[in-house]
Symmetry: C2
Subunit: 204 residues, 2 copies
């Protein structure tokens, strides 16, 4: 069923291409935009174009950053521990760690994980750039690489690949702990996590 | 917590102003836009501006329509019953009726309902325009007005107001039936709806 306006249809189409937005939600969003002042629609439109125009990947850590700020603010920060690099899958993961306010090292964003089924090999993600940071000509001085990939088959595969690649370079390779989330109840934790928690037990 | 890019923050802000979109969803949408080709972002941006530039309200029925098509396609259609006008609250309601493919009359969109608590009086919604369509100088020939407002306090108030206003003009005023939705089970229907269904019973 079509609205009496092709512009509205086009907007509904565009909205429904976003992840998690179906036709009904798209219709609701379009109706909302219609009722809002023009300024609101322009604000979103400008932000969309801006993000494509101005956001680039940091030439060092590959995280997203503004065009005017390359290397990014984390890579250039004087207050961070430059001997540790935390390797993550995507920019949202950097944000997740930054929110903890606990980790003070640097990052490296792979923009994906090795996934042969999807045709993603080691050369398709930012592994070469990571190696570049460890070479003597690179920033150097890196003591530890923390692998913080998602606990999926692909994430584990990538972790394994990276650890085999990095260890010969004389750098310490670690992996973030798998275990019981804070606040969870043992009763409801799946077997795989429980086993990993048991394996990873530490002295108190 | 801020991303390392102000453009991304601006986009997240803009997305999170949409109804039903929180910070987390907005962040996910922004990340999606970042990963998509520029064309996709432009498509949504253009659709947003377009809808504000090109969509107007039909001068007859007040439904949304393209600037080049006023009166709208329903108002100008030769295949519709011009003696019946269905009064609805918003453009989405027109779409809902059109989807049934059953109703063949015209529409009138009020763009709201009378709601004293929100400071919305009869003059703030498109009642004057509806009266204009019934005047001898208007299109005329209207035999019946079907009130199809939402079954809320405000909707009922507006229906009552309209029926008192319209009946003296010699036009038949009807209201869509309240009753058991098709496919529902009596057991789970609320009391108010059941009472209305009983009141509105008809001979078989």
């Amino acid at each position: 069923m079509q609205y009496s306006s092709s512009s509205i249809e086009a907007l509904i189409d565009a909205f429904s291409r976003l992840p998690g937005v179906g036709r009904k939600t798209a219709r609701r969003l379009a109706m909302y935009v219609l009722q809002q002042p023009r300024l609101e629609a322009e604000r979103l439109a400008r932000a969309l174009i801006d993000v494509k125009d101005r956001v680039i990947r940091c030439s060092v850590c590959q995280n997203v950053t503004d065009r005017e700020e390359d290397p990014c603010s984390i890579c250039t920060s004087q207050g961070r521990d430059r001997t540790v690099i935390c390797v993550v899958e995507s920019p949202v993961d950097v944000l997740a760690f930054e929110k903890t306010g606990h980790y003070r090292g640097l990052y490296h964003v792979l923009h994906g994980v090795i996934s042969p089924l999807d045709g993603v090999g080691p050369d398709d993600i930012k592994i070469r750039e990571l190696l570049g940071r460890l070479s003597p000509e690179g920033i150097g001085g890196v003591r530890e690489i923390v692998l913080a990939l998602n606990p999926t088959i692909e994430g584990e595969t990538t972790s394994l690949y990276l650890s085999r690649l990095l260890k010969p370079l004389g750098v310490e390779v670690t992996k973030i702990a798998r275990g019981i989330p804070v606040g969870a109840e043992l009763e409801f934790i799946d077997e795989a996590t429980l086993s990993r928690a048991m394996e990873g037990r530490s002295a108190v």
